[in-house]
Amino acid sequence: MADNVTPRVRVPRDAAAGDTITIKTLISHPMESGQRKDSDGNTIPQSIINRFTCEFNGESVVEMILEPAISTNPFIEFQATVPESGTFAFTWYDDDGSIYEESKDIAVS
């Protein structure tokens, strides 16, 4: 359904142990709300990303449930605590069953 879905994530390259860092994510996705109609008056079926999760070394940072009221190309910004070096895993779950993944490493000094 959704073509050319590209996740983009911004995570600082390094941080001090216990620091709180800001993470910004953006994923290109039409987020079809199910409210719009095409030129023939037929409702365009809903097709959105319904869930987003961020984990650090397997431990949850944030989970977000998205509804049709989230804008096209969902942007999500949040804070994370980094106790040690490791990897952030970002996952987006599409209505059509697709899963988009992205990961970022961070070095903690």
Partner: protein, 138 residues
């Protein structure tokens, strides 16, 4: 000034429609709040909702919520076709119980944020956002 029978009936119908329509919208938002709080009454304070006062384009309205000590925060838009907007569940590694995103608004309305605190209580904040162009298509 006198009204004919026809005018009187029309006015009565109009008044009835004007009172019932907003009530249906209210019911939807109250159901959405109750679904999140399990019927508990949220109190004011302890949560910050940052949204623009005037949003020119209802398709992308930047919004930020912050509630220190919250386990989850939900965002609702009272007059959208479906009031639910998003729910954040914060994990143990969340640096702050805060998040921002961009939402759609169908028109000028109240945006409501409700947080479930770690002790099980609920707090809420709301702000009116004026929308020049609605964001739900048509």
């Amino acid at each position: 000034m006198s009204f004919s029978r026809r005018e009187t009936i029309l006015m009565a119908l109009g008044a009835a429609a004007a009172t019932t329509l907003p009530m249906q919208a209210r019911a939807a938002i109250e159901d959405a709040i109750a679904a999140f709080t399990d019927g508990a009454e949220p109190t004011e304070g302890g949560i910050t909702l940052t949204a623009p006062e005037i949003a020119e384009n209802g398709n992308t309205v930047p919004i930020e919520v912050s509630a220190p000590g919250a386990a989850a925060i939900t965002i609702l838009a009272a007059d959208n076709p479906t009031p639910d907007v998003a729910t954040f569940n914060f994990g143990p590694l969340a640096g702050a119980q805060a998040a921002s995103t961009r939402m759609r608004l169908a028109g000028t309305q109240d945006v409501i944020a409700i947080a479930r605190m770690n002790d099980g209580s609920f707090v809420q904040a709301s702000q009116e956002v004026k929308v020049t162009i609605g964001g739900c298509g048509g």
